[in-house]
């Protein structure tokens, strides 16, 4: 099976600025990959390389076996830039029809994608009457038209409210179920809401992580937080038994490594009626992301405060 995107040891230098260094990344057909990184990490640069707008200063990229920017490669790819302002004087339908024609898509595709992004009712209104969420959906409609094999979405959900964001990911999940690969960028894992197959993290132009989310969570091996609510009057003895810290007169909280989790939980269940409730919290996506984007140098906060003992 040929990869849709195959990047090998890609480097990109803008005079003195090294935007990307030795990046190797594959995207398989139908796969959804999230590209994460802080501002200036090199996400947009990677997209521009994939589109063939710029040429890498090191390494190579191929799109479904074609050179980026070639006609064959451009037929495969669709793009939604970080910021796009469509001509205000045009209607939504006119905008989508324009890109449909450029891509050689069938005319009935226009109505189909407008329907998919729920813009049918607003389709004949001018773009300057659209809300931010509607504009973003129009951008997606433009990218979806013509059944691309690869969608490149540059920070598609930044600035959207949680509900629009969720809707956006549902749409993307739907296209990828039909075999379209999706490479989208974002600057936080929590924005993704664990919706992508794979996560690649860029830090200062280098790829510091690449794998399924669960794998990254294991790799980071961040402590797990266990909170125990003791029965009335038992908080002292519970604390003495399992350690950790008392956070109020009824609860004890402790952090432990992944591998210790079951041992501690069985100890807690051994306390019987002294324990009223147990709450186990795995590291949040944000904490995992922060771990990789800081390369583990800075302690993740929860580790700092409570897990040093």
């Amino acid at each position: 099976m040929t990869e849709i995107v195959k990047a090998r040891n890609v480097g990109m230098k803008f005079r003195a600025v090294e935007a990307l260094t030795d990046v190797s990344l594959d995207v398989a057909p139908g796969e959804q990959v999230a590209l994460l990184g802080h501002n200036g990490a090199g996400k947009t640069t990677l997209f521009r390389l994939i589109l063939g707008f710029i040429k890498p200063t090191a390494g190579s990229i191929s799109i479904a076996g074609f050179a980026p920017g070639s006609d064959a490669a451009r037929r495969v790819v669709s793009y939604l830039p970080e910021q796009v302002a469509f001509p205000k004087m045009l209607t939504g339908r006119e905008v989508v029809r324009f890109y449909a024609r450029l891509k050689g898509a069938a005319p009935e595709d226009v109505q189909a994608v407008l329907d998919k992004v729920e813009l049918v009712e607003a389709a004949d209104r001018r773009v300057d009457t659209y809300s931010k969420g509607m504009r973003q959906r129009l951008g997606l409609a433009q990218a979806l038209v013509g059944n691309p094999r690869l969608l490149l979405l540059d920070e598609p959900t930044s600035g959207l409210d949680p509900l629009s964001r969720q809707h956006f990911y549902e749409l993307i999940a739907d296209v990828s179920r039909r075999g379209c690969s999706v490479l989208l960028s974002s600057h936080g894992l929590s924005e993704l809401e664990a919706r992508t197959d794979r996560v690649a993290i860029l830090r200062k132009g280098r790829l510091v992580a690449d794998g399924p989310l669960a794998e990254l969570q294991t790799q980071a091996d961040l402590p797990i937080r266990i909170r125990v609510r003791a029965a009335a009057g038992a908080v002292g003895s519970v604390h003495a038994e399992i350690g950790g810290g008392r956070i109020n007169c009824a609860s004890v909280e402790l952090c432990c490594a992944r591998g210790d989790k079951m041992r501690i939980l069985s100890k807690i269940s051994g306390l019987g009626a002294q324990v009223e409730d147990v709450d186990v919290a795995s590291p949040t996506l944000d904490e995992v992301y922060r771990y990789f984007s800081n390369n583990g140098i800075e302690q993740v906060q929860r580790g700092d405060i409570q897990c040093t003992a």
Binding site: R48, F53, P81, L102
Partner: protein
């Protein structure tokens, strides 16, 4: 080819809804009507056909307004689209950069042709009927004016693309466009006049000036229209200098046509190097 037509059609749509274009077309129409009314005022000495007089004054109006409308259409074509992210979308689809530019050019020229023909067409018809239906030949003069104004506009549209493709910000492109207009339409003639006054031996007037006059597409346009309507009857400013011109008649229009071709070629080369 498909891409060229698609882009041209969309540019026409956008241009016809652009309020600056509408406004400047209305100004063109208003000026044209004022000139018609002044030209056909009763009591005026009517030596030549009134429509011909109107065509003469309209061609002077064209020299100033048509390049302005043209640059207004084109300065934003590349820089603005990069700014707004839409050029990236177009270039991500399988159309060549050459087609993008040709499509925009055809669309913008069409918008300009619509603006010019409606303005001058209405004014020409008003003049024609206000004078109790003059000679039909005079209407051909109006047609000639519209056609040559469109060619002049096409030249400045193409020159505007060079400005738009060479800079990254729309604001810079706009400033460049204004500078181009000011130089080609206003300053250039002043410099030539200065040269005429300064050169005492007449060498400049004989050997250099005619070439410089034809070199500027706006002056070439003026020369063509003056020669076409028999400049002697109406009188003109620079064209009446009496020098032997290197080009005459319709051949004068070779200057704007050549400028258009060169500017389109150059802006395509620049656009091919743009890294959006």
């Amino acid at each position: 080819m498909h891409g060229v037509i698609t882009i041209a059609a969309t540019e026409i749509r956008i241009g016809l809804r652009n309020r600056w274009i509408i406004l400047s077309s209305l100004i063109l129409l208003a000026f044209a009507l004022i000139l018609v009314l002044l030209g056909s005022a009763p009591g005026g000495e009517v030596k030549t056909d009134a429509v011909t007089v109107v065509v003469a004054s309209l061609s002077t109006l064209s020299v100033y307004l048509v390049p302005l409308i043209a640059l207004l259409l084109s300065y934003d074509a590349i820089a603005g689209e990069i700014d707004r992210g839409t050029l990236q979308l177009v270039l991500a689809s399988p159309v060549s950069r050459g087609s993008v530019l040709v499509g925009k050019f055809l669309g913008h020229v069409a918008v300009l042709a619509i603006a010019v023909s409606s303005g001058y067409g209405i004014a020409g018809l008003v003049a024609f009927f206000a004078n109790g239906a003059g000679e039909a030949v005079a209407l051909i003069g109006v047609g000639r004016l519209i056609a040559s104004s469109t060619v002049l506009g096409a030249t400045f549209i193409a020159i505007g693309y060079i400005a738009s493709a060479s800079v990254r910000q729309t604001g810079t492109a706009a400033a460049l466009a204004i500078a181009i207009w000011l130089f080609a339409v206003v300053l250039y003639d002043l410099v030539l006049l200065g040269g005429l006054l300064a050169s005492q031996d007449g060498f400049f007037a004989r050997a250099v000036f005619p070439w410089l006059l034809v070199f500027n597409p706006a002056d070439a346009f003026r020369l063509y229209n003056m020669s076409a309507i028999d400049a002697l009857a109406v009188g003109s400013n620079l064209g009446g200098a009496g020098s032997a011109l290197p080009l005459s008649g319709l051949a004068t229009m070779l200057s704007p046509v050549a400028w258009t071709a060169i500017a389109l070629g150059l802006s395509t080369v620049i656009l091919k190097r743009v890294r959006p």
